[in-house]
Assembly symmetry: C5
Homo-oligomer: 357 residues x 5
């Protein structure tokens, strides 16, 4: 039984470490605000929830069950059951993992469940213990604080992913490697996983913020709308990272092909220069009895001269064809899309003239 | 005539192996709960269904016909006709196959048809034979149990596919082979096939769970909603596997190109080193009469020395250009997206300050 | 004037080869059922249609005009005008061609137009001539029979395409060729063309089957729904074939790259072994006066020995690096996604325990 | 002031070359039908339009402004303002360009604007000048004739693109070149540009044909529906061309890779045959004093024999591995998706038996 | 406190540099038109906004907060809160950056916030200072002018991107380089970023122009519709640029592969010609005692002749196989999609004949 319960009495007294019996009493009084946070929910916790709060069996099973559940919102009239995902900052995997929080939201109570330790819930508990502020405006605001903390804690991870994506983009042009490829794959899968939890959550927050559920007061709706806006931004950032990863992957192959091309050129140049000369040397290494050139005094030096000329001509040709470059010269670098200020101010002047306003 | 029929009388007696005449009688009494499970439905079974239950000819034909039918739900007023797909665990193919179940759901009866042996139906029959539990809450709950078992039996296959996808992902980086390519193709087609049956089933379960059909009591709707949630999760997992396979395929080519690049480098290095030296040796193998170097005492050793120097210089250049690497060093390996706890807790503190809650 | 007309009088007499004047009379009697099938519709036929049936000029023009028209349904109050596509089995092209049928459906008449010979219409005519059955239940059922035959005749072509897709998939792994590439392209374009006629037809059949048009009795609607289900299945199959072709195309390049890699390895191995040895032989072929090794008695054999050792070492290295393989060994072959029965039955037992049903 | 105006008086007299004052009078009489066609609309024309017809400033600005405007329809109560695009057949670019026509449609007038010379408007003017027919049925029919001519003039371009696409497809398999690549790029961009104007126009015509605007009589709606059908067909054709171009592009790389593979094989075969033999010759060119084979009488011939055998064996091996082919043999060529007639007729017979109709 | 306020009194007097107290008074008078433009909004500005205008805390926080916010519109009854993005022309990055403007629009006031210097707002301020025109028609028209200037200032950047895209397209065919690859990546990401702000803004302008908010008079709606049309055009142009970049990327690889192919051919030709000849020379360089050819008088010249013939034959073969080309000849260049005028006019004549109009 690993739960922590807080109770704010109608008189405004905040109590911590409320026992199971007191939870039951607080729940039945239908006054004040009760928050029960269950960590690593067991079978027993499940029974406790069903017994005390009379929650629907299937909702409780979703809490007990350690499988992953897709984000959803179920309206059981007396209470809402919301499943949301944040980032699991405890995860050891190389791919971003999500962590699940299930929240029961009733008129006078909030019950939160999670199987992994969450910094966001931890933080809200600390706030409550400090001065009870998040509990003072009612259950919908407490739930809002929990969800807001959960969603906002996604941002540091997104920022980290964004940094990695930018490093990868740089690396792919300068020095494409097998390891870069792996990082791209990991990055892409992380964004996909992220997308799969963020997209349905956007829909959930949209429903929470547009007055569909009477449990959310119209005052609180604007605050839920704010979380919705954060989700929109997270989704945008995530999509940007995914585009960068896609971009990087499609560039990788081109980049490798480019390098291979350079390897091939080295090979071709070497072969084109030395194979004919080797043949020439081979010819004068033949043992025919009658080979007049061999007896010429300057024969040997003539052959050396011819070889030198052939090398010079071929190198010049390859250089002319741009196969050989002296010094890479990556200096050309432009800020491609800047527009002169005159053009911009100019527009307004045109507007002033044309406008019939 | 391969059917097995169970009848739970209004008095609560469960009978097994009900005969055709009794089925007719039970159906007409319009009381109790009748379950007829037909396996390998023949023409004759079809006639039996039309005769006894007065089902629509087209629905019966869908049962008799061994072609594959897309998942669907038809509302014939007096009864629902639902076609659903699970995984065919009997399939011998290398690609995941689906198995079809057709269910007629009426107020006092359930008729299920399937042409392949299904572990899920088998399991429900065993449950009924044990203590009749799945039949005790009415036809809609019996149908729910059947569908739930069918859908849940998809999960072990999805898990297996997920394992294969992860192996493949590892293999593609370490040692890409033709066989890996084949496995990816099989995997991808399996996910596509899965997707094609899961997506419409989600829609069907959605309709079953939102009170569109009076045959499903509002009590049972929540349970159908639960199957819907499972389908959402299966679809997510399936989509993840598909993304992994797509990822793997686009990585494969890059990985092969990378390896080819290394092959090319070996070739280019060998050629760049040995072709010039062979020319040198060829030159001093020429038979000109007048080649002064040949008579020098240290000529031979000078040539050997020059050759050694050339080799050393070229090897150094290639090494400097990163074409030759001593020891692969795949040690670099990061958990890329981890965020320091301080940053996460920090957020909450910021929240506490800014919040006007 | 190439038409064939059948008339089922209200008394149940079926007449064949009805003349133009009789057609007019039958149409005006507004009783019985008249079927006019026009093949290779000419300008004249068009005028006949406008004159006799008073059809809208634009609809008639769609019949006369030999251009391709997208599937559509137009409601002219007194009659429906439906354009549908089946497969043109007469087509000589390597890509699947579609054939158009235009049907005017009124309360007491059906007029069908087509410019290519169609097995499906031919078949329905044969049925009518045998015993008139398809005409006995009214105009909507006759139109259903025509459409059903048209759509069902798509299946053999889809099956053929599916077979080709499977062959291609096999070939791409075993022996990728230019011809395989061409077949994939043809296959893909065929599925695209198919998709472009099937998708709108699905929508048309959906409208026909949901009671939007009073000309279709509710009894007939279920039968139109059945055609709709067939279209869903055809679309699924077609999509599967397209996925296979896409798969095959993206695999092709990898497969070719793989083979090229092997070619490169042969080249690199040959060069890496023989170039250094040729240099060695070249060195001892030089004509320096002072080359002590040449006079050693075992010099020659020593060189041969060194060459042998170098070959052995290099071959071993390449073999160790997996560049040389003795015997391909494609034996490894798994049924990747099979699950043990125990796991499946096991689930049901778990269900039995947990279930609160 | 470059406009041409036609006025059909209520009495049926058609006048050409109507002056500005008469245009004003005709517009205010609110009878008959006035058509003003403005070519290369200037600032002055704009003022004329605002002054005479009292059109909204923003709509007139869209006419005067030479920028490109997306297709749209604006309902200003008294008149509709429609912007549509056809193909600019005057365009000199290698990519298909679109030409814009803006039409004001009122109950008794049509005003058309365009900045490039358009064959379609030219043609309609010629028709009007011949016998005034397009103006005899009212403003909505005149506008229909203009739009119909504009849209139908897209078809010859689409046909040309289709021809190019087919040539490209052929070329890509037979002889892929840089120029082919360029043509594909041009083709693809043309289809994209086309798509971007056709898709919104489809929506506009849909709205015009479904009775949303009272200015379009129900009689004319069917004719607008006809243009809609043409747009559907154009979009289909355009999509087909785009698919072909996409197909061609993805095939191009495979085709080039294939050819490269053949180049590589030539190289590998040459190297594999001649490098070992050159080593052999090199060995017997060494100048060791003690090389017993050199003194053998048949030594030389033995070496030549060994060389011949090695060549024969290697050629045979390469041939056996399919690396060398004698005669290309592209004879294999199948009509892949043809189905035997028996199968097709057979279906109908099956239908006859099973059918309960 | 960096704000600039303008007040147009109901009497028509325009005052500039209105102080904080006067702003409060003007706001409370609920007459005239007040415009407050806040630049680099600080915490303090936020408090000022909440204090003076009583704006919602969350909206104000969006202004103060320097994070990026997705475009959105929030309706707070008394005022609208709109967040829009233009291009940040101050951005130093190589990728196009967007700049955010937040606008509060009330019946008698407009408050605009932005954190970067914006040419568009600057321009509108200049217009107001000149003669106050943009403020004379009310708050909705002032907001329109601000938004219009913001959106129109996107066009010069889009044009610049379009130019870069065209250069890239040229470059990719003529001379593909690593730098081209980088430019494509930058271009693509710029279009993606642009798309992500333009698409939601289109939706916002759509809502503003269709009478959803009573604060926008129906007269102003048409002007908002005009901005909507601009956004449609910008989105089209942006999409075109993206297509070009995608096109260029997929062409890049083909282009590189093509060039590699040519490199390979050089290599293969060199090897195929010189390796056999080198063997020949090597053979006659062997030191066998008995090599009859060596003693023939014309042996040497015969060998030279054979070599010449071999070279001639191989060069001819390679030339015949199209591996060697004399002169590139990129002359072939067609205007691919032009249609003859006759065909176009011809259509109209056909129309005249067929038409029943």
């Amino acid at each position: 039984m690993a739960f922590e319960a807080y109770y704010l009495s109608p008189e405004g007294d905040l109590r911590r470490g409320v026992s199971e019996t007191e939870v039951r009493a607080a729940f039945e009084s239908r006054r004040g605000l009760l928050w029960v946070d269950i960590f690593e929910t067991t079978e027993e916790d499940g029974k406790f929830l069903e017994r005390t709060f009379d929650f629907h069996h299937l909702a409780v099973e979703d809490c007990v069950n350690t499988e992953i559940h897709a984000p959803k919102i179920d309206d059981f009239r007396d209470y809402l059951f919301v499943v949301l995902h944040g980032v699991n900052h405890m995860g050891e995997s190389e791919i971003v993992e999500t962590a699940e929080v299930a929240i029961f939201l009733g008129p006078h109570f909030v019950v939160s469940n999670h199987n992994s330790l969450l910094y966001s819930v931890e933080g809200v508990r600390r706030l409550v213990e400090d001065d009870g502020r998040p509990m003072k405006r009612g259950a919908d605001f407490l739930a809002h604080t929990l969800i807001d903390a959960l969603i906002d804690n996604v941002l540091p991870t997104i920022d980290k992913m964004s940094d990695v994506a930018e490093e990868v983009e740089e690396e792919i042009i300068r020095n494409p490697q097998q390891l870069t490829l792996e990082t791209i794959m990991k990055l892409k899968r992380s964004t996909l996983r992220m997308h799969r939890v963020i997209a349905p959550q956007r829909e959930i927050l949209n429903r929470l913020s547009r007055g569909e559920f009477p449990l959310i007061t119209s005052e609180a709706q604007i605050f839920y709308r704010d979380i919705y806006d954060h989700l929109v931004r997270i989704q945008d950032l995530n999509q940007t990272i995914r585009d960068m990863a896609d971009n990087a992957l499609s560039t990788y192959l081109s980049s490798v092909a480019n390098r291979q091309n350079e390897t091939m050129r080295v090979l071709s140049i070497v072969a084109a220069i030395f194979l004919p000369l080797t043949l020439l040397a081979g010819i004068y290494g033949m043992n025919f009895e009658c080979m007049p050139e061999l007896e010429w005094k300057w024969g040997y030096f003539a052959v050396l001269g011819v070889m030198g000329i052939v090398i010079a001509v071929l190198v010049w040709r390859f250089w002319a064809q741009n196969w050989i470059r002296w010094g890479r010269g990556r200096a050309r670098r432009v800020r491609p899309f800047a527009v002169e200020p005159k053009k911009l101010i100019g527009y307004i002047e045109r507007l002033a003239k044309q406008s019939h306003l």
